[in-house]
């Protein structure tokens, strides 16, 4: 909690990637979260294309601290027969409220046909989907301009908000056109003025704080929001109010 605002971190991982210092020790995550008032972190496991293996690990991780962590479902079109059954299981049985997709681990840009069964599922359920986005061909935020109007009950979240200026501009343009496009802030690029740009051009009601923990410590990432030249109201929306609305939590 920061100044009465419940803080929700919209981007985190379960799983280990030790060569980059990423260790999913719950005490490590909770210690960093507590140090800066993060109440809840959204987590997903993207290292298993079947979905089931990672989603079960996520569910187990969340179950140890259910008031602090929320799991998102992960599936991959590289195992197409598993996608919809695993989404049904993850949403209905594991209780996950949203979906994470990671196009860099597939051969396809996320606007192509292999992904669409996921969007149809999310459209039926009215779910949010967070996508890794950047400037590479599989991950371009410009694809939201086709997807957002085609699936109006889905909320599309651009993780990293494209990371670099040209892709960030695409994400902002999509958010300006469609009410179901959101901009998530975590990035190893901590370029000055980006948070201000997202709020001023995309709208404060579309910005979601995320950290990418435990690949990155959530403290400098939340520091981007706190030290930005934006209003207290915009900070409250980005830190938690928008995420709470999106996830219904």
């Amino acid at each position: 909690m920061i100044d009465g605002t419940r803080v929700i971190d919209y981007h985190g991982h379960v799983g280990r990637w030790e060569r980059y210092g990423m260790v999913d020790d719950p005490e490590l995550l909770l210690g960093a979260m507590d140090a800066v008032g993060i109440d809840v972190a959204c987590l997903f496991h993207i290292f298993h294309p079947d979905g089931t293996t990672g989603n079960d690990l996520t569910a187990r991780f969340v179950a140890r601290n259910p008031d602090r962590f929320v799991g998102f479902a992960y599936v991959s079109p590289t195992m197409p027969e598993r996608m919809v059954p695993e989404l049904e299981r993850a949403i209905d049985k594991l209780g996950f409220p949203a979906i994470k997709l990671y196009p860099p681990y597939t051969p396809w840009p996320f606007n192509e046909e292999p992904w669409h069964p996921i969007y149809e599922f999310a459209q039926d359920r009215g779910l949010a989907i967070i996508f890794h986005t950047d400037h590479f061909i599989n991950n371009r935020p410009r694809y939201f301009e086709n997807l957002a109007p085609a699936y109006p009950r889905v909320n599309f979240v651009a993780a990293h908000c494209g990371n670099v200026p040209e892709a960030r501009a695409e994400a902002i343009a999509a958010a300006q056109k469609y009410p179901n496009v959101y901009l998530e802030t975590c990035s190893t690029y901590r370029t000055p003025g980006v948070i201000e740009e997202l709020v001023e051009q995309g709208g404060a009601d579309r910005v979601l704080y995320g950290s990418d923990m435990p690949l990155m410590d959530p403290r400098p990432q939340i520091g981007k929001i706190i030290t930005a030249r934006i209003s207290p109201e915009a900070k409250r929306m980005a830190l938690g109010e928008n995420a709470a609305r999106l996830l219904g939590i």
Binding site: I2, D3, T5, R19, Y20, G21, M22, V23, E27, L28, L29, L30, G31, A32, D34, A35, V36, G37, T188, Y189, R190, T191, P192, G193, V194, M213, P214, L215, M216, D217, P218, R219, P220, Q221, I222, G223, K224, I226, T227, A228, R229, P232, K235, R236
Partner: protein, 262 residues
Amino acid sequence: MPSLNASHPMPSLNFSPRVPVIDANVCVGNHHTGPSPCQSPAQLLEEMDFHGVRRAVIYHAQGEQISPTDGNRYLEDWLDGDGRLIPQWSVAPVETSMKQITELHDRGRVSSVRLHDCQSAGLPFLPWGYNDLLTFLSDAGIPLWIPLMDVETDHLVTTLKAYPDLHAVLVGAHYTHALVVRGLLDASARAVLELSRYEPIGEVEALVDRFGADRFIYGSWYPRYAMGPILFYLHHTRMGEGELAQVCAGNVERLLGRTEGS
């Protein structure tokens, strides 16, 4: 990870540092690939004021990959009258650059230097290529800022071990350096890590526990990165107030041979 000690205030929507701050890593001027968002000393000072940064160590963007000597000449235009902007001169192991640095040193104007990228031109950061420069810096007690993306890790370890009196500041470690930072700090007791890009979870506490707070310094690498987030982070670790003060200013003051406020 143990929780914060009781003296740390809870975070709020507004942040200002509670210890004096020197930003040890600020780039000024236009890079050859495009304009900087910060175009004047006044603009830089305003940014520093907004984030509660008293002073900053500044180098010129042209010194990174184009010309250390020209970059240093352009840097003169950024030096303010009251000493809040502390010049850091770029240097390469070539005659023109060495001559310029020696002359500046003779005039008492060198408190630190920064390595120009010669690796991309084929010169590895090894003693056979850098002996004259590193011997001079070691003898004169001048600290050398070394951008990690501009040197091979294995070369750096070899060279740090070969010059144990060199005060090296290792700049720009990223999470992709997670496997090497401990080895680099082990390679020389005088090596210090600048923290502008280093974000693996819990690493500031873990590194301070292992090496001591005197081995780490705050830098933002503004305007490549925003000035505030790492400063906010450092204020929300379980470092004690004395350690925080060391990391935010004391260690770089010691390196530069300066006293804050003097």
